[in-house]
């Protein structure tokens, strides 16, 4: 018992020290960080005693993540020299031809020489967060100050060093995707923060890629907020390809105005333990949200997907489709809650989770939940857990296709259903080759 208290207090000490180093900027930000730190200190890391954290245990996290951190924050070490090459940066970036802007961060800090910024139409802005704070960019303060009761968001607020502020003014359409790449050198913790603010009628797609070296224990704690103005069309991709020993926690907060349409694509391929949380608030009439997700796990990987869709106004629509493929002793979680508030009449909502278990020791927890307070709504949800279809397997073999290849084809087909929903072709292509690799003979049961 006393040991635990000691450990907890030393974690907090480290975090307090890190937070202290970040002070001295804008006064409003100092206050914000201080409050966030206090809330985190009072609560600590979530434990599995909390309902929404029932399946995921973070007890190993604090120890591994915080040890190496102080040095790095003091600038003693720098990421580029430390294993960034290992993550095959060239395969991760999409390049200038396929993106409007591509920013690469290493351990939470912008690497200018690895990034590129094109000229955006109108007054559209994609700024490193530190720069945006310095310039006190319009709307940023409100976006960061929104109270969110979540200890990991608080931790991010207390500690983020940099991130991205994207502001798309009214009526502007950004054709090519904005790609944000968050790399880890494999040590300590990083807290990237992203704010996407799209004003009325604008359109934008943002891809976030997370990656790091194999076999290093590090921790990514990312927070992204999307503020979707009326009539906006926004696509967001979060591609989690962290290293095999990494911890990854990310939060996506979506706030939607009237007639806005937001689509989120989540992919979990890497990390030892990951959790992707999404909370979408359909605040404006006629707004719609689509959440697509795909997780492919093997070995002892653990991936938790926790989503809340909150229908707050009439005629709003949501559609959620998550698929999981689990091998080895991996564990996948889909915990999806849909809330329909009293005023949200004529809501239509559909939620599906399908899982494919490849091994008898893999576990999936599928927990769809509906909480309906309005009477004129159309909601349906379903979840399935199954194995490879043996009849399909035999059919393919009977045509001359080897059983291993047939098996891979069936898994590929299962996963493709999610990948095909992605509009950005280079992302689709990247994932298709990932799938072939991960589901192929060398990928499964091996390292991620």
């Amino acid at each position: 018992m006393s040991q635990m208290v000691e450990e907890t207090s030393s974690e907090l000490g480290t975090i307090a020290e890190l937070a202290g180093q970040l002070r001295g900027g804008a006064p409003w930000l100092d206050t914000l960080r201080e409050k966030a730190f206090d809330r985190f200190a009072a609560h600590g890391f979530p434990t599995s005693a909390e309902e929404t954290w029932k399946y995921t245990n973070l007890s190993g996290l604090a120890k591994i993540a915080l040890k190496a951190d102080i040095d790095r924050h003091l600038g003693v070490e720098h990421g580029v020299e430390h294993g960034v090459e290992q993550v095959r940066l060239r395969e991760l970036v999409l390049g200038a031809e396929k993106t409007a802007v591509e920013l690469v961060f290493v351990d939470g800090n912008l690497e200018k020489e690895l990034s590129w910024r094109g000229v955006l139409p109108g007054m559209a802005r994609v700024m490193p967060l530190a720069e945006a704070i310095e310039a006190d960019a319009r709307g940023l303060r409100e976006a960061l100050s929104e109270e969110i009761s979540d200890p990991l968001v608080d931790l991010n607020t207390a500690l983020f060093q940099d991130g991205v502020y994207i502001h798309i003014p009214a009526g502007i359409v950004i054709e090519s995707p904005i790609h944000l790449v968050f790399l880890s050198s494999g040590r300590g913790m990083s807290n990237p923060r992203v704010v996407i603010r799209a004003d009325g009628g604008s359109q934008v797609s943002v891809v976030e890629t997370f990656a790091g070296p194999r076999d290093s224990a590090y921790f990514t704690n990312a927070v992204t907020t999307i503020l979707a103005g009326h009539g906006t069309v926004i696509e967001h991709y979060r591609l989690q390809r962290e290293g095999s020993e990494a911890y990854h926690i990310s939060n996506l907060r979506i706030r939607q105005s009237r007639s806005s349409s937001v689509t989120s694509h989540v992919v979990s391929l890497g990390a030892r333990l990951s959790r992707q949380q999404i909370e979408a608030a359909l605040q404006g009439e006629g707004s719609s949200v689509t959440l697509n997700g795909l997780f492919i796990l093997s070995g002892r990987q653990h991936a938790d997907h926790n989503t809340i869709i909150d229908h707050q106004s009439p005629h709003s629509e949501s559609s959620e489709f998550y698929k999981g493929i689990l091998d080895g002793q991996s564990r996948g979680i889909f915990d999806g809650k849909i809330i329909v508030r009293k005023d949200a009449q004529k809501t239509s909502s559909r939620q599906v989770n399908r899982n494919l278990l490849l091994s008898p020791t893999a576990i999936v927890d599928s927990k769809p939940q509906l909480e309906i307070h309005a009477d004129d709504v159309k909601c349906n949800h379903g979840s399935t857990i199954g194995q490879i279809d043996e009849d399909a397997l035999f059919y393919m073999q009977a045509r001359g296709i080897a059983s291993e290849e047939a098996r891979n084809l069936l898994m590929y087909a299962f996963a493709s259903e999610i990948v095909e929903r992605m509009k950005i072709e280079p992302v689709r292509n990247q994932l298709q080759s990932d799938l072939l690799h991960k589901l192929g003979p060398n990928g499964r049961g091996g390292k991620s």
Partner: protein, 257 residues
């Protein structure tokens, strides 16, 4: 000799279905195997294709002199054995044409032939689709997904035409087909007919045999072939009904004892 089955016994889930079946098929011959439900027709088809749940307890099957039962299903297919399924399986997300190209190239590779590229394959596929009067839109759909019963059976014959097997086994391909579809399927098989190809037609009814005239007809009853003859045997069986098979079986048993 294409296929030789000697005293084949097989069971499914501990139930013995085939009880000592003998059959010889030479190259270029069409054999019809007729029998009522439960006689062992589909079990024979599945055993020949290598379906996992079917367990052979004794006997042997030689395909061109090689031990067929020792081969995995995919090796049998590549060697030239084709089963047209009674219930073709729907495979969501796997493209029909991609699937068939992979199948054909697996067989070509095994035979030491060059694999076909996409264009060459497409040319071949188009030609064979015409044969079974299949619309080209079926190429880009998932394997059998959402196909009607008749479309699925035609897709089987289309696959057969592309793969060009030495031995084709049609497992109740006629069931659920209207006369037009029946004619198309039979014509598809007839065009493959030559001195190198053999076909085993497994059926409950005589009507397919009007279009696909067999060289030999065998009556299967309780896991054994109780009578063999020419094409006229099918007509006689149709006239007398399957109770005749019971009599033949009883007579056979008396004769043996």
């Amino acid at each position: 000799m294409m296929l030789e089955i000697r005293n084949l016994k097989a069971r499914v889930d501990d139930k013995e279905i085939l009880k000592g079946l003998n059959l010889t098929v030479n190259a270029g011959e069409i054999h019809a195997i007729m029998g009522q439900n439960g006689s062992g027709k589909s079990t024979l088809a599945n055993v020949l294709a290598g379906k996992p749940r079917y367990e052979v307890t004794s006997g042997e099957v030689l395909f061109e002199g090689n031990d067929l039962l020792a081969m995995s299903p995919e090796v049998r297919a590549r060697a030239g054995v084709f089963l047209a399924f009674q219930y073709p399986v729907e495979i969501a997300g796997v493209n029909n044409i991609y699937f068939l190209k992979a199948a054909l190239n697996a067989a070509r590779k095994e035979r030491g032939l060059e694999e076909l590229d996409a264009m060459e394959f497409l040319g071949l596929a188009r030609e064979k689709m015409k044969l079974v009067e299949m619309d080209e839109s079926f190429m880009n759909r998932s394997v059998n997904e959402g196909f009607s019963g008749g479309e699925k059976k035609r897709n089987e014959i289309f696959q057969m035409a592309v793969l060009d097997p030495k031995l084709a086994i049609l497992d109740e391909t006629d069931s659920g087909l209207d006369i037009d579809a029946l004619r198309i399927v039979a014509e598809g098989v007839n065009t493959l007919r030559n001195e190198k190809h053999s076909v085993i037609v497994i059926t409950h009814y005589q009507r397919l045999l009007d279009y696909l005239v067999p060289d030999f007809v065998h009556v299967l009853h309780e896991g054994q072939i109780v009578k063999s003859g020419g094409k006229e045997l099918a007509l006689e069986l149709e006239k007398r009904g399957y109770s005749w098979a019971d009599e033949l079986s009883a007579a056979g048993a008396t004769a043996r004892s």
